[in-house]
């Protein structure tokens, strides 16, 4: 019995951590949707949803119920298997990066001796990350790039020319902007010397004051990343795959009910992911300057306030997304491609070269 518990314990902890992370992310995402509708309402001089619950706070759950109970329509001539696969791929790929989000600093001054069978022995700290892996940045980039399949396959399998066009456009767009996005991150990686997301945060903490947050030495990289992030998440002004005026609703025209909800959810989780990345790479992640003077590093309160700081940074980005959606018009497709290849990518590459030169001179 003891042996079994001992062998299962680490896996159980991992699952528990993943579940907690999932819950937190889902709640944030649900309220992002609500916030979007509210903020857009205010920008347009409306009130926004206000019927379900106080100030419309229960609206996300009402939406969810609606999605679940709606009729699920499957087009006759669709390629069934792929049609079902596409939303699953989209949402899985959106959720996967969650395991490497650096939610907060590790809690080190803990005592786990109360656990039975000596399960707490040898555990020195509780990291607030599900899995701390050596190649976190690459992992996130890789998984999000696999997410393209969800959209491309959805467009293809619907057997609808608007969906196909939407899928094609979206694949082209994602492939193009992934390059600029990757190139904009390289500057940060060079400064930090690691691909580990927590490592990047620690690198920012230990930097001299003028590069305490990498947004200062990497401002160009930050701007490029932000723009590319809009394109990667199919948000206005880069929401061509679902341009209503041209393509009905793009790749998910033929999707309804829960399958549509999965796409919808995937999109918002992706938004959350890029916000996390942005905050981690350029704004110091969970690192709040001066916090270590208030609480000892490694204590529970330090961790809690760090997490709060991190969430505030993420919320700022999420708000920025909504703000942009409310105010900017949409690009044309050729403008979008030209912008990505002829402006964004060269700028990102120039930034990489500039960073290399900077690092060389700073270290010699």
């Amino acid at each position: 019995m003891e042996a079994i518990i001992k062998s299962i314990f680490p896996i159980a902890v991992l699952f528990g951590a993943a579940t907690v992370a999932f819950g937190v992310v889902m709640m944030i995402v649900a309220y992002t949707v609500l916030a979007e509708r509210k903020v857009l309402g205010w920008i347009q001089g409306r009130i926004g949803p206000n019927r379900v619950g106080p100030w419309g706070m229960m609206q996300p759950f009402a939406d969810l119920l609606k999605f679940i109970f709606k009729e699920d329509i499957v087009p006759d001539k669709s390629t069934k298997f792929v049609y079902f696969l596409a939303p699953i791929v989209a949402v899985t790929c959106a959720l996967m990066p969650m395991v490497v989000y650096p939610f907060g600093p590790a809690i080190t001054n803990i005592d786990l001796s109360f656990l039975p069978y000596g399960l707490g022995d040898g555990i020195k700290q509780i990291p607030l990350t599900v899995a701390q892996i050596d190649v976190g940045v690459l992992f996130v980039l890789g998984i999000t790039s696999v997410g393209v399949y969800g959209i491309a396959l959805a467009g293809w399998s619907s057997n609808n020319k608007y969906s196909l066009m939407g899928g094609l456009r979206s694949s082209a767009q994602l492939i193009s902007y992934e390059l600029a996005m990757g190139a904009s991150i390289i500057g940060v990686v060079i400064l930090a010397g690691t691909l580990d997301l927590n490592g990047i945060i620690y690198a920012q903490m230990s930097s001299p004051w003028y590069s305490r947050w990498f947004i200062i030495p990497q401002f160009v990289g930050f701007v490029v990343f932000l723009i590319a992030a809009f394109a990667e998440t199919n948000r206005v002004p880069f929401d061509l795959p679902e341009a209503e005026t041209e393509l009905v609703a793009g790749f998910h025209t033929e999707y309804s009910a829960l399958k549509f909800a999965l796409f919808f959810m995937g999109e918002y989780v992706n938004m959350f992911t890029v916000s996390v990345m942005c905050a981690t790479l350029f704004l110091g992640g969970w690192y709040v300057p001066g916090l270590s003077h208030l609480f000892p590093v490694g204590s529970l309160l330090y961790a809690v306030f760090s997490v709060v700081g991190f969430l505030i940074k993420i919320s700022a980005f999420l708000f920025f997304y909504i703000w942009v959606r409310g105010t900017l018009p949409r690009f044309r497709f050729d403008q979008l491609m030209n912008f990505g290849w002829k402006f964004l990518l060269p700028v990102a590459l120039a930034n990489v070269i500039f960073t290399i030169i900077l690092v060389y001179f700073l270290n010699s």
């Binding site: 050596d134 890789g142 998984i143 467009g155």
Partner: protein
């Protein structure tokens, strides 16, 4: 224990996906199967303590190369393969023989390596981490990296030349030649749209 579970799970998945890749006539299904193989292999690389290669496998193979393939399949809107008309039957024989030989060879390799005197498997955990790969790439493998640079530059040029549309006069000639050769007028409209 966990390693072997992961390994055998994904090894099975990889083989199943590989067979499905060959079995399916629809190129898109083949592509999806190949993505399955690639992701399973990435997980297997993790069991081999090569996280960097695993991440790059997903990033380059699954995220770039296969997206390109899927993109082309969608762009050309390829249907299922037509039923076999003029396939040379001896190719099946060649394929079968080649498969058997390679399979025998696989067993032979397994046997040979299995029987070899056990050398302790090296468990240097730093090999395979980003740092060791980066250090290797900028010291030992500096020249190969440079050559890969030339190679990629050249392939961009090549791909652009090949995939660029034909200019108009040439295009007309191509269409006429093909129509004459095929002698099928009903495909004419389709042909012009596709071009």
């Amino acid at each position: 224990m966990i390693t072997s579970v992961i390994f055998f799970l994904f090894a099975g998945l990889a083989i199943a996906c590989a067979i499905s890749l060959v079995y399916h006539k629809n190129p898109l299904y083949s592509a999806i199967s190949l993505v399955g193989v690639l992701i399973s292999l990435a997980c297997i690389y993790v069991t081999l303590a090569a996280p960097f290669i695993a991440a790059v496998q997903i990033l380059i193979y699954a995220g770039a190369i296969m997206v390109l393939v899927v993109f082309v399949i969608m762009l050309l809107n390829l249907d299922e393969d037509k039923p076999v008309v003029n396939r040379l039957p001896h190719l099946y024989a060649i394929g079968g023989i080649l498969g058997l030989v390679l399979l025998a060879q696989t067993f032979f390799i397994f046997y040979a390596v299995h029987r070899a005197p056990k050398q302790a498997v090296n468990t240097d955990e730093t090999v395979g981490k980003t740092l060791s790969i980066g250090a290797g790439m900028y010291t030992e493998y500096l020249l190969p990296v440079e050559i890969v640079g030339i190679l990629l530059l050249m392939s961009i040029v090549g791909a652009v030349i090949l995939a660029r549309r034909l200019e108009y006069p040439q295009l007309e000639i191509v269409v006429d030649n093909e129509l004459e050769r095929r002698n099928e007028s009903e495909i004419k409209d389709e042909f012009r749209i596709r071009l």
